[in-house]
Amino acid sequence: AQSVTQLDSQVPVFEEAPVELRCNYSSSVSVYLFWYVQYPNQGLQLLLKYLSGSTLVKGINGFEAEFNKSQTSFHLRKPSVHISDTAEYFCAVSRGGYQKVTFGTGTKLQVIP
């Protein structure tokens, strides 16, 4: 079985500061990894995905994530956040393209002016 842990339920950060949202997964096989973002009163939107290849994945809105197999992590980073990045971020894992995706519990990023 696969699972995802997002240890931080809320992360406050000042505008223009860097941020890292943590995600750890457990799976006995190779995985696909995803980050989704949910802006207030909206559905989820794919931010980035890791399927294979380079462990550093770049996504939309200046976000990137690094797949670390030895630490079973897929942390999301942005060097300088904006007010508009205030949202809830979900990490997700799958064992393959046609395998069920399991979502984490979400991390609320609050950007402080």
Binding site: G43, G96, V101
Partner: protein
Amino acid sequence: DVKVTQSSRYLVKRTGEKVFLECVQDMDHENMFWYRQDPGLGLRLIYFSYDVKMKEKGDIPEGYSVSREKKERFSLILESASTNQTSMYLCASSIPGQGWIEQFFGPGTRLTVL
């Protein structure tokens, strides 16, 4: 752009009522999904469908059923609503040939059962 629409943004129902949540996607996607989202629990899969008239149970199907009579429409049915079904319900679809790789979500229906 892919568009996934849900029939209502907010819904208030009484215990015991039959509730229909409708989802429509306009991009000819084969795969469609229903999730519920609760604070601290993330998204949990209720049902999914790979094609018309086809359905598969997700992780929490109890108390729910689904219907997929047309490719673009996937309905979630609460046969007899209960207060513990108060939640945000999210519908999603995904691109043909890509399985679950990228899901496109609707804006959600916030259901309150009194």
